[in-house]
Symmetry: C2
Subunit: 192 residues, 2 copies
């Protein structure tokens, strides 16, 4: 019977390897090597590399949930929540700009190649966008955010622009794109 | 001696194949097959698949130059130039949202894998950003764009946010992300 702990180790290794190298540039053997597992053990745990990609993506998103949880913390004013959430993501990114955001990386590389991964990306982007939308709507109600644009449109724009900033940070290997995002969103665009 | 026209056909085929399938998911043979060329002919023209990737990227950017040229057309008011430039890009994207922007696709997939491709991406993003910056600065001078944010920061933000919108359109296969970009940028954020 497969050991659950080995499966766990393979998912952890896949998250690291796919985030660093991309999905198509890394093979199953790269992942099992990184997990210290024999390649032959892989198919005891996963039907396909694609399923492993889904598991790694979901694990990445779980890891990112701290930033999502901040959005829901009603003890904090909504604008401060939004700012803290993106700041938490930015701090994570600044540990290694080369990695980029795994959501964005998988979006460009795999959304046409893998219906399963695309479906998971859609779900993740939707739940993230809804959490931001709730926060933006609260900020509009308390008067701290401009009210002439739908909270839904603002939320979609913020998620997408964040992904664009992370994409650019991956090329530039600096935080400039993330700083531009923060400056425009929180000192200009939305917050008055 | 290698025929220039065959080299041309390989670059054209590479642009199409790499844009549709990504760089790592497509092999040299996929490209030569698409070009109707024997695989063996490839290395008469290119030292490596990476060099072909650079050639395909540069060709993509040449194709996109119509949108860049609009930015420089001083017969048109600067805000109208900006809007028309992004609209031209959006019309191109709407022919097949699944493709995304090849700059963004290569950014996430290859900027860590290939120093050559990363260098070309940096140059392309810089020249695009500078053209937008000039336009934004002109719009600030004529009073049609808000003046409390540096034109340089605005330009970087617009380029990155556009890439984010294209990334999201690739997942969603709709124009919603591009519409949100247009609405926020031209009816809210920057244009008063």
């Amino acid at each position: 019977m497969p050991q659950p702990s080995l499966k766990e180790e393979i998912v952890e290794a896949a998250l690291k390897v796919f985030h660093e190298r991309g999905f198509n540039a890394a093979g199953v053997k790269d992942v099992t090597d990184a997990a210290g597992a024999p390649k032959g053990s892989f198919y005891n745990h996963f039907h396909s590399k694609e399923r492993l990609g889904v598991a790694a993506l979901d694990r990445y998103w779980q890891r990112t949930r701290t930033a999502l949880d901040i959005l829901k913390d009603e003890q904090i004013p909504p604008i401060a929540r939004l700012r803290a959430s993106f700041r938490t993501l930015g701090e994570g990114a600044s540990r290694n700009f080369k990695l980029g955001c795994m959501l964005g990386n998988f979006s460009t590389e795999l959304s046409d190649q893998s219906p399963q991964i695309r479906e998971h990306l859609t779900g993740i982007f939707e739940s993230w966008t809804r959490a931001i939308e709730a926060c933006a709507a609260a900020a509009q109600r308390d008067g701290s955010m401009r009210q002439d644009i739908d909270a839904e449109v603002i939320a979609a724009f913020l998620v997408n622009s964040w992904e664009g900033a992370m994409l650019r940070a991956k090329v530039d290997r600096t935080g400039a794109a993330i700083q531009a995002f923060e400056e425009i969103v929180f000192n200009g665009l939305l917050v008055r």
